[in-house]
Symmetry: C2
Subunit: 120 residues, 2 copies
């Protein structure tokens, strides 16, 4: 089964790791081989390969099967799906930030007043 | 440590489960107790409680500690953070969808032509 829900499970699970998010960030600047990916992360190739497998199964990257170098490529559509899911809650965080903004504005005049010469 | 990276780890891990996503969707329509949450999901209260703990640790919900009913409340700020992270990749999926659009447009005239009377 490859429903939206199972895809979201795989996408979010794959994103719940700092190395895998860093790999995606690296691939955003261009395709890279396991070698090229392993270097900046100071990780062994098998460790990177494991992460790539998780990313590939989740559909977040694709790999050239034929070429010896098998460079990995970022596939952004699953990220779009995850973003669309999160977007359902946009009204909630916007309301939350608006409330924070109100609190900050209520605090501001008091702070500003401190800077003015006191009336005695 | 509560850096953006560790928060994103917890947020994405919490979202990688269909029941937890469904609980958030339910809470989007109002605060709810464990009882109220357990009913529509046909799950036991302990099972729901486990999911709520994961959501709470990730900062995706808050729970009223004092009240006996301890209703859960959606906290959307961590979702905003996850959405902002995904947004870095917007240009990639938009490019990907644009390419798909081009392919579809290239296919369209052929299909449209079929509907028109053929020139003989």
């Amino acid at each position: 089964m490859n429903t939206t829900s199972t895809r979201l499970d795989a996408t979010f699970a794959a994103l719940a790791d700092p190395t895998r998010r860093a790999i995606l960030a690296r691939l955003a600047s261009g395709d890279a081989t396991v070698n090229e990916l392993a270097e900046p992360f100071a990780m062994t190739q098998p460790a990177i390969s494991k992460h790539l497998k998780v990313l590939e199964r989740a559909g977040l990257i694709s790999r050239n099967r034929d070429a010896q170098r098998r460079p990995s490529r970022l596939e952004a559509r699953r990220l779009a799906e995850a973003s669309a899911w999160l977007d359902q809650y946009r009204q909630f965080w916007e309301a939350s930030f608006a409330r924070l903004d109100t609190v900050l504005k209520e605090l501001q005049p008091k702070t500003a007043r401190r800077g003015k010469p006191a009336r005695r």
